[in-house]
Symmetry: C2
Subunit: 209 residues, 2 copies
């Protein structure tokens, strides 16, 4: 079950599934979601073009698996940053936004598979679930923030969660990509998002903003 990296492998690979997922990530990171083929992933793994069919129905299933892993890693990163709102929701939210951008920049393959892979989240229950969990972190954050707003006219926390999401996603997708496709900006994406969230929170009447 455990295979040394440099060891010559025998007839059986041993962890082909794992290797193929990593190969897919490498290829997606390098050439984008479109320039990733089943055949090339096999070649990358040093295996015949028929071998992947033992582990994945087709290219889309492999891509979906990458996306699932992406959402799992994403959720972990966001939850770690949010840290249940410690020491206070504002500081934690700031970390959350930075974590969002960091993830997109550091994991272009995950980001591409998650949001540009052409795999609808509804297609795979596993994918849907992983994506829900990641969003749940944002929901939790929104709830704590809403609790800090004046009770009169308190906004629905689901809406606030969606707003946070769209702000982070908008900045990330327009300016925060890992590859060099971003446009010139007078400030860093992180600064842009931070300022935006602060204005938004002030508009919400969050105490201390």
């Amino acid at each position: 079950m455990s295979w040394g990296k440099g060891e010559p492998r025998g007839y059986h690979h041993g962890n082909l599934r794992e290797t193929l997922i990593r190969a897919a990530m490498d290829l997606i990171a390098k050439k984008g979601t479109a320039g990733f083929t089943f055949a090339e992933a096999a070649r990358f793994a040093g295996v015949s073009p028929a071998a992947p069919y033992r582990h994945f129905r087709d290219r889309d299933e492999l891509m979906a698996q990458v996306a699932v892993r992406g959402f799992v890693a994403f959720e972990a990163a966001l939850a770690r940053a949010w840290d249940e709102g410690r020491p206070n929701p504002l500081a934690a939210l700031d970390r959350l936004g930075k974590a969002y951008l960091d993830f997109v920049r550091a994991e272009p393959a995950y980001y591409a598979a998650m949001f540009e892979g052409g795999i609808p989240a509804s297609a795979d229950p596993q994918l849907r679930d992983a994506s829900e969990r990641a969003f749940a972190v944002l929901r939790a954050a929104a709830e704590k923030l809403c609790a800090a707003t004046p009770p009169a006219g308190r906004p629905p926390s689901l809406m606030v969660a969606l707003h946070i999401w769209t702000m982070a996603h908008g900045v990330a997708s327009l300016f925060g990509r890992g590859d060099g496709a971003q446009r010139a900006l007078p400030m860093s994406p992180a600064e842009l998002l931070e300022a935006q969230v602060l204005v938004y929170l002030r508009g919400l009447g969050v105490t201390g903003a």
Copy 2:
């Protein structure tokens, strides 16, 4: 120079360039940016696979042309909605946001070519220019809005323009796509964006928000 639609065409097509661009748009709308090929565009136009080379260097140049047209149409739609801030900046901004979402929903091919085509805006000066012009509408809107904020601590209008852009783009890319890939929402994308912008403007201290 003018060709009736149903007329049988002779050896020369007459407006192949135009027809290819429209074919590309149809294909991109149907199958996304990845599932669009030079050969199929030619077939779609009823012309030999070698013919497109008389008009475009390669597939990417055709895609870039679609993106350029997209930005031109986008600018027109945004400018029309903004209408120089009449009758007041808040009402105009609301229209602007709706126009952004409408465009993305109604013109999936343009949107895809503009933001998902893998064509960096910096690649083509014409593309860069068209994209600048579209953004200029947002800048103009941001300037008028900033003028309506308290002079003390007035934010830079470029930043506000970028914030408006990322909010609209975030909502559009996550929830406002023309195809059925959007997720379930407790409200329409337009409502979500409108509420978000209102909170943001209140945070900015815009008079009347």
